[in-house]
Point group: D2
Chain length 334, copies 4
C-alpha cells in the first residue's frame, strides 16, 4: 500500500507509520516529495488494515496496490474457468443460452415452455420457485413444489436447470433439485447465504447487486471460492442509475472488464437489465457481440398472464428468432 | 391505478383492458383525451399486478395511485410509533443516542467503552458481534462470545443493547442477548432474514441499503410488520452516489420524508454515512436539527487500533462534547 | 395530466383544482376512488404548469401523460430523420464510422491520422480544436488554427469533419469550417449554446450529459429543433454511475430507447464511455449489434504521446481491424 | 504521482516510465514489491499528464498525490475567504440568508417580496431574470427588464442582489445590475461562461452540478480563480441520486468537506435540493447546524401562482419563522 502524508505532517508522524507497519513484518520505502512524504509499504497486506493506517496522525490517504480478491482474480488464475453442468459447458468460448419463465407457475405451464425453449435452441432452463418480491403481499413462488416441476422438466427435455435460493437453510434442498443455484441481486452480499453455497460445492450463478461495484461483486464470489467452490458464474443484470426509461441500466462494459480482471465466466441478463421486452432483443445481441459467455432470458407463452415480470418476457416465437440472430453474431465474432 | 394508452391504440385495445380489470372486481373510468385514452381503475389494487397490465397491447404506461406499503404508512396509522426497550423510548419526540464500538473486540474493551459512552450521555449501547465484511479474509466478529460481552455490558451500565444479525437461523440466539436487532444495509431486502425477525416480534432497526429507495426501504419494513411485529426503527446510513470524498452520501432529507410517509421512528448513522470522523460531528448536529429520533455513533477509545471502521470512530472525549452540542440543538428545535 | 388528491382532501379542494384548470380551457373528469379522488385533465397541457398544480392544497401528486418534447418525438414524426453531410447519410439504416484524434495536435499529425482512418474505412473525421478540459491549466486546444487543419484534412481525404463548439459566440466561426458541430456532455443543457446552434441550422451531434436522463437529452435536442434546425444527431457517451473500473458507464440501452421515442439518429461513443482502449473494441461491436446509426472512435498513431485521452485511443491498425469486425456484425444484423 | 506496474511488467517497462518522467525534470523512486514494482514520481506534476503515463506499456494504474486545484485549495490558502457585497460579508463565520422568488415576475411582485424577506431577516435578495428551463417552451425569464426590477428592489430595501447568468456574452450586462452573479448547476463546467466571469472580477456563486464531484466543482471554481477573481462562493443545491421522493438529493456532507478542502465560503440551497416546501424548513436548519456560511431560499407570496418552482417556495410568514429558528441554531452552534 501507499501512504500519502499530509503536507503539514512531521518526520515523527512518518516515523510512527513506519514503525507500525514494520512491526507486522512489512518493509517501507519513504519518498521525500516536494511538499509531502509518501511511504511505500511492501509485504503481506493481509496483516494490515488499510483503514487503520488511514486513521493515524498525519496521514492524508492510503491507496491499495493489490486487488482485495485473490481466488477470483485472473492474476491468480490466468486460465478461464469452465463450469460444467450436465453436458453444458459455461465459459469454454461458446455462448450458452438460458431461458424460461420468471416464476414456475405450474407443472403443465413449465413443461410447455421448457419444450418451447429447448426447441428454440436454449441450453439451460431457468425458472423461479422461490421469488424475491419487493412486496410481502406478492406471489412468493411455489417453493419445493416448483423445484419438483423443474426437475421433471429437466427429465423431459434434458436441459439442466437453474433456480434461485434465498435462505441459507434451504441450500441443501435446492441443491437436490437444481443444477445451478442462482443468487439474486438483493443477496450479492448476503454472506450467510454465500458461505452456505460455498460449502455446498454446487455450481452457482451470482448476480451483481443494484449498486454493486465490480470489485464488491468479485468479493462476493470470493466468499464462495474461499470455501473451495470455484463453480462460480457471474451475471450482469443491470445496475441502478438515474435513468427511468429502462428498469435498470445494463452495464454491458462489465463483460470485458470481468474478462480482464477474473477467470470466471460471465452471463448477461438483458430481461432484468432493461425490463421491457421491446429492448431485450437488441440488448441480447449486444451482449453476444461484447463477448458474454451466456445470456439468460425470460420466455413466457402468454407474457400478459405471467405471475411476475411479464413486461420483460419474450414469447417463444420471438425468442426462437432471437436465438438465430444471436448465433449468427456469435459465428461472426468468435 | 391509471392506465395511459398509446396514441395509436384503438377502442378495442382499451376495451380489453377494461374487461381485464373489471373481471377482478375493479371499476373503470375512461377519459377520452385529445390524443389518447386514459383509463382510471378504482378498487382493490392488490388483486392486480401493475406490470401485467403494462404488458397489454396498446398500453403506454401504468401509474400507481396508492403506496405499495400499508402497515408502514402514515396514511394507515397517523400516530407516531414509539419503540420501547428497557427504559428508553424511541420515537416519542426526544432524541436517543446510541453509541459504542463498531465491533465487540473483547470483554474489557467493551466494558470500558460502555461506561464511557454512558457517562457521556448515550442511551443505548451498540457493538457488532457478527460483522458483515466485504472480504471473507477480514475479521468476522466474535459471534456468541461477543453477544455475551454485550449482555454483560448491559448489566454493568443499564444501557439496552443493539447488535446486528445476518443469518435467519441466528435470530433466536441474538434475540436472547440483544434488546434491538440490527439489519444492515446489505440485508435490507434479505427476505428470509426479515421474515424471521418479523416472526420474532423483537425490536429491530432496519438500515437503508446502499441504493435503496425510500419506498423499497419501507417495503422492507413492511415484510417485518406483515408478521405483526411493529417494533421497527428505520436508520439512514448513507446511500451510494458518485461522490468519493465521503464513504457514502448522507441522505439527510430521508428524515423529513420518512416522518411524512411513515409513522416509524428514524435514526441517523453519520459514522457510516460519511466514513471520516472529521465530518461526523457536523453531520450529527445536522441530523438533530433535521428532526431525527436518534443518532447512532461509533465510539472507540483508540480508533487507530480498532479492528474495523476506526477511520470513522470518535474518541470518548470528543463524543462527550458532541453529545452536549446535540442536546443544545435539540433543546432549541423541539 | 392526472391529479391525485390526498386521502384527507375534501370535495372543496378538488373543486378548486377543477376550477383552476378549467379556467385555462382544459376539461376535467373526476374519478371517485375507494380512498381518494383522482382528476383527469384533458386539453392543452402547455397552458398549465404541472408544478403549480402540484402545489395546490389537497394535491398528493401530479402525473404527466404526454412527453414534454414534441419536435424530437417519434409520435410527432414517425419517419426516421436522416442527416446528410457531404456524401454521408446518418440515420438511413447503414452504420457510419467517425474517427480521429481526441485533439487536433498539429497539421502533419492530423493529416496522417485522417488518411489512416479513411483507409481503414471511416466515413467522417473527428478532432477537437476547442477542448473542454476539467483543469484550466490543461491544454485547451489549438482553436481556429485547429479548425483550419481540419478543413485541410477534409480537402485531402474527402471526409466530412465533426468538431466541438463550446461558446455561443464561436458558433458562426466553427460553422465555417466544420460539417457537423459537436455539443459535449458538459453543455447538454447550455441553452445559450443550443439556441445559437438552433439558429445556425447547421448539423449538430448532441452528446448526453453525465447524469442526463433520456428525457432531458431529448429536451436539449428540442431546444435546437425549436429554432427549425432538425439536423440533430444524438450521441450516447457514457453516464456517471457508481462503477470506477470504467471511466463512465456505457448506457447501451439508450440506443433502442431513443429509436423508440425519437426519430433522430443515434451514435455511440465507446471511447469516452469506457475510457480504456482495451474495452473499446467489444463495446463498439456491441453498439453495432444494438442498432446504433454510427460509432465515433478516438484513433491516434501513438496514443501514449497524445495530448489528451490517449488512454482510450486505438492505434490505426487496431482500428482498421475493428472496422472489419463491426462491418461483419452490421451485415448480419440488418 | 504513483505509478503501479502490472505484475507481469518487466524491468524494461519500468525503465521506460522512469526515462519518460525524468525527461521532464521529475525524480523517481522505484519500490520493488513482492509481486510488482511501484514507481514514485516527485516533482512538478503539471508537466505530466497522468493519463498519458497510464497508457504506457506495463502500467496497471497511476494514482495522483496532489489535488488538481491550487487556487481553490485550503492547502494553498489556509485562511477563510470572505466575499463582501455591500455591507454583507459571506464566509466570516456568521450565516447569511439569501431569499426571494425563483423568477422575477414583475416590478410590483418583486418589490413586495423584497420588502417581506428583508423584514423577515434576509441579508441578500435573490431572483432570476434569465431562467434555465428544461423546456424551450417554458417561461425563460424577463431578461434585462428583470435585472432592472432587481436593481430597483435593491435601492428600495438596501439588500444586495444575486441573479443568474447563462450566456458569456451577457456577463457585462448582468454585472451592471447584480451584486453577485449566479452560475447554475447546468453550467458548472461551461468553461466559456466561467472564463468570462473570471475576467469580470465580479463576485459569483457557483452551484454544484447534478452529478459533479466535489473535485470537479472546485475545478470549476479554479477556472474563475485562474483569472484572478477570488470572489467565489460555492453552493450545494442537491445532486442526482436514485431517490425520487425528493427532487434531488441534498448532499449536506459537502459542507464540512468543502470547509476542509477549500477556503471558499459555502452556501446551501435546500429549496432546489429537496424541491418540496414541506422539507425545506428541516433541511435549512440542518444546513445551519452543519456549518454552512449561508442558506438561499425561495420565497413567494403565493407559491401556487408562481411562474416557476412554486412547489418548493415558502410563504413569507413561514420564511420569517424559519429565519428565527435558523438564527437560534446558529447561536447555539457558533
Amino acid at each position: 500500500m501507499i501512504v500519502v502524508m499530509k503536507t503539514e505532517a512531521t518526520a515523527e508522524h512518518a516515523a510512527s507509520i513506519v514503525a507500525r507497519v514494520e512491526a507486522v513484518g512489512c518493509k517501507t520505502h519513504t519518498i521525500e516529495g516536494t511538499d509531502r512524504r509518501v511511504i511505500g509499504v511492501v509485504g503481506n497486506g493481509l496483516a494490515l488494515d488499510i483503514h487503520q493506517i488511514g486513521r493515524m496522525i498525519g496521514v492524508e490517504k492510503v491507496m491499495p496496490i493489490s486487488k482485495p480478491y485473490k481466488g477470483a482474480s485472473r492474476e491468480f488464475k490466468p486460465d478461464d474457468t469452465i463450469v460444467t453442468v450436465g453436458n453444458v459447458k459455461i465459459g469454454n468460448g461458446s455462448m450458452v443460452i438460458m431461458a424460461g419463465p420468471c416464476s414456475v407457475e405450474g407443472r403443465t405451464e413449465l413443461l410447455e415452455v421448457a419444450h418451447a425453449v429447448k426447441e428454440a435452441g436454449a441450453n439451460i432452463l431457468r425458472g423461479g420457485a422461490y421469488k424475491p418480491r419487493s412486496s410481502p403481499y406478492s406471489f412468493q413462488g411455489l417453493g419445493e413444489e416448483g423445484l419438483k416441476y423443474l426437475a421433471e422438466a429437466r427429465e423431459a427435455t434434458g436441459l439442466p436447470v437453474i433456480t434461485e435460493v434465498m435462505d441459507p437453510a434451504l441450500v441443501p434442498l435446492v441443491c437436490e433439485y437444481a443444477d445451478i443455484l442462482q443468487v439474486g441481486a438483493r443477496n450479492m452480499q448476503n454472506y450467510a447465504l454465500l458461505n452456505a453455497i460455498g460449502k455446498s460445492g454446487h455450481p452457482v450463478m451470482l448476480k451483481r447487486s443494484f449498486s454493486g461495484t465490480i470489485e464488491e461483486w468479485l468479493m462476493g464470489a470470493e466468499y464462495i471460492i474461499s470455501h473451495g467452490n470455484t463453480n462460480v458464474i457471474l451475471c450482469e443484470r443491470g445496475i441502478r442509475a438515474h435513468e427511468t426509461e429502462t428498469r435498470n441500466t445494463f452495464d454491458i462494459s462489465a463483460i470485458p472488464v470481468i474478462k480482464q480482471l477474473s477467470h470466471l465466466p460471465i452471463v448477461a441478463d438483458p430481461s432484468h437489465a432493461v425490463g421491457k421486452w421491446e429492448y431485450v432483443g437488441s440488448m441480447s445481441k449486444a451482449a453476444v457481440a461484447a463477448g458474454a459467455d451466456g445470456v439468460i432470458l425470460e420466455v413466457h407463452p402468454e407474457p400478459d398472464q405471467a405471475w411476475s415480470d411479464g413486461r420483460q418476457s419474450l414469447k417463444p416465437k420471438r425468442f426462437a428468432k432471437l436465438v438465430t440472430e444471436m448465433r449468427a453474431i456469435e459465428a461472426v465474432c468468435r
